[in-house]
Amino acid sequence: MKRTIISGAGIISKYGLGWGTFLNNISSKPVEKLFNEETLKEAVKDLAKVSPYSDYELSNWRGMDNLCKTAVMAGLMAAADAGISRLEVNPEKMGLFFGTVFGCLESNVNFHEKLLTSSPRFVSRTIFCNTVSNAAVGYLSLALNAKGMHLTCASGGVYPLIYAIQQMQGGRITQAVVGGMEKLHPIAVDGMSQLGFNKELTSENGFIPEEGAGALIVENLEDCIERQGKVLAEIVGYGVGPNFTITMKDALKKANLTPEQIGVLILQANGSKHDDDEMKSVQEVFKTNSSVLELIPLKQVIGETFGAGLIFSIVATLDKLNHCELVMVNSASFDSRSKGTFILKKLT
């Protein structure tokens, strides 16, 4: 059985650029309200300091949807962090797996508005190409010269990571960029408010919608050691299912671990009515040990970032793994579907 590890991460969020900055800032107030074009340009400048990516230019963004820009930058930052040069990767063995919920909504809105106010003859072909959710992975494949297995998932961030691990285990890829992305648009925020998800509308039962992009470099431990890369964490187990009792139990079984061995659990808990179900599952799986388990409701701090949520949670474990050997992460889509659990281990 091959061992799957995380060797790099890239984060673009309102808590700053890069995973180190993100970890430093999530316990304090946000650095800025929302990231914007200027923030992203900063990311390009930061990236230019890393030799394999110094030639990445803003001209690559021409015609690119803003969601895609954040995803591409997160992916490139992760690759740079892992010390992976796009000039040296085996293109056919590099996979790309991303999750989102709303996709390229900004381009969708722009295209709809143009179509509503003018003749179909005047709509933009460039914007149309950006309306598909997989546009980000397409742009990233160009930026990284990645040609292997790939996927864009519209039910959140859980399955892209599971699928990447499966491809790695099956030997079809040796490295992967696994990411999540979301760019809020007023139309989506309005929709969530109408449906009662948005905390601003229902103060006692709802979440704070946020945005951002994150990416991880996932690879086989042996390959990472051979190229003298760093190991941030090992993914030792995962589970999917209709409730967190099943996902957590399956993840423990896959990792050959007992609940007592888990020190920290990063919860899905996003402030919605489904949080109670998750807590019941925690008590069911961890029983008396649930009182000593450190529970972290990360989304109460950073908000619900939808497709990016899992990656942000996993990056948050990198901090926890400094004082705890095993961390569990629960994640689901904002409507409590597509649930999954991952267990990460510190490698010494």
């Binding site: 293109p91 056919e92 790309l96 989102t100 919920v101 969708n108 809105v109 295209f111 709809h112 508005e113 179509l115 509503l116 106010t117 003749s119 179909p120 003859r121 933009s124 072909r125 149309f128 190409c129 309306t131 598909v132 959710s133 997989n134 546009a135 992975v137 397409g138 742009y139 494949s141 160009l142 990284l144 010269n145 990645a146 040609k147 292997g148 297995m149 790939h150 996927l151 864009t152 998932c153 519209a154 039910s155 399955y159 599971i162 499966q166 491809q167 099956g170 139309i187 929709g191 969530m192 109408q194 449906l195 999917v240 299912g241 209709p242 889509s333 409507d335 579907r337 597509s338 649930k339």
Partner: protein, 401 residues
């Protein structure tokens, strides 16, 4: 050794009709589903396409995509002898490029006018909504995934389901593909100058573009041991899958066909097959100059000189380009071709393109098949390929749960 993953149920809603029987009849008799479009405003747009006729747009509570998905789902579950009380770990993987886009058009129009949007419209718009509809018909207890990878979405959905079953994350997975024709999509394809000036002619020398279409299709994938144990009829085996990126251009395919070539190699490797063992190829075959040439290049690399003998047939001139549903429509065509021993016609093919050098099936033919290759490609340089094989055992057509 991995267990075989088999197909035990089919459901189709397409321009050929609203069940598999009509779909099969159309394919076996060379009937085209292309007709004048009726269900949306086509002012200043092309006027024909692969529209699903027997569908009446209901009120705002259910999008056209949801309606089609539910119809195909019910047929597939019934075909597979599955009921809501099934005691198995059931997962669902749906592939769709745009989901409830017709609802999206309504939301965007209301929003642009500054008018209130009813909550039921919001429910219908996110792609995740498609999982809800499956869950209301049969409770989901395994992975729940929506793949949105443009025109390879439902091919990828089959690949994801295959690996979920191989990884023992589920006993049975409902795989669906769905997309609808709308003014949004039609205007987009027209802006790309991808639409034909008259009819879609895949692989013809005079081909000049696509004809859009719509539809939904569902296949039930499960482990062979479970299908046998519950006495289900086994149509075929999903024996291989692969996906690869061109990494060349966002909308134009790689002229060298490198992504498609790699995806085919992966799928054949997983199926444990040599190229010569493939009896029939159902390519993406959109009818555009570049796509069809790219696929021809990839197939030449795989089959070598034998490509000139390998039967090839696209169903895009029969159904139109059903976008995210395209892969699963081709998959069901392959499954039916394995079961009934025929090759569907690549309609409207008249003039041979010597440069492509393919053996295009011009008329419906009888042929027993053992292994069929299905190819799809999409925006973003995405390619996804699946191999369907004759089942090891067919099981019981009258099986009971």
């Amino acid at each position: 050794m991995k267990e075989r993953i088999v197909i035990t149920g089919l459901g189709v809603v397409s321009a050929l009709g609203i069940n598999t029987e009509k779909f099969l009849h159309g394919l076996q008799h060379g009937i085209s589903g292309i007709k004048k479009l009726n269900h949306f405003n086509t002012d200043e747009l092309f006027q024909i396409g692969g529209e699903v006729e027997e569908l009446v747009d209901a009120d705002d509570s259910e999008d056209r995509a949801s309606q089609m998905l539910k119809m195909a789902l019910r047929e597939a579950l019934s075909d597979s002898k599955l009921t809501a009380d099934v005691n198995l770990r059931v997962g669902a993987v749906v592939g769709s490029a745009q989901g409830g886009l017709k609802t999206g058009e309504k939301i965007h129009a209301l929003h642009a006018r500054g008018e209130a949007v009813k909550p039921e419209l919001w429910y219908e718009y996110p792609l995740n909504r498609l999982l809800y509809y499956i869950d209301t018909v049969i409770p989901l207890t395994g992975p729940e995934v929506v793949i949105s990878n443009a025109c390879v979405s439902s091919t990828m959905a089959m690949g994801v389901a295959l690996d979920a079953l191989n990884d023992d994350l589920a006993d049975l997975v409902i795989v669906a593909g769905v997309d609808t024709m709308t003014r949004f999509v039609s205007a987009g394809f027209q802006a790309l100058k991808a639409v034909t000036s008259d009819i879609c002619r895949p692989f013809d020398k005079n081909r000049d573009g696509i004809i859009p279409g719509e539809g939904a299709a569902v296949v039930i994938l499960e482990k062979e041991s479970i299908a046998v144990a519950r006495g289900a009829h086994i149509y075929a085996e999903l024996s291989g899958y692969g996906s690869a990126s061109d990494a060349v251009h966002m909308t134009a395919p790689d002229r060298e066909g490198s992504g498609a070539h790699l995806a085919i190699q992966m799928a054949l490797a997983e199926a444990g097959l040599e190229p010569r063992e493939i009896d029939f190829v159902i390519p993406h075959g959109t009818g555009t100059g570049y796509n069809d040439a790219m696929e021809s290049t990839a197939l030449k690399k795989i089959f070598g000189p034998e490509v000139e003998k390998k039967p090839v047939s696209s169903i895009k001139s029969t159904l139109g380009h059903t976008m995210g549903a395209a892969g699963i429509m081709s998959a069901i065509t392959a499954i039916l071709a394995l079961e009934h021993g025929f090759l569907p016609a690549n309609l409207n093919y008249e003039t041979c393109d010597e440069e492509l050098g393919l053996n295009v099936v011009t008329h419906v033919q009888h042929q027993q098949n053992k292994h069929i290759l299905v190819m799809t490609s999409a925006f973003g340089g995405s390619n996804a390929v699946a191999v369907f094989s004759e089942p090891n055992i067919r099981g019981n057509k009258e099986g009971v749960l």
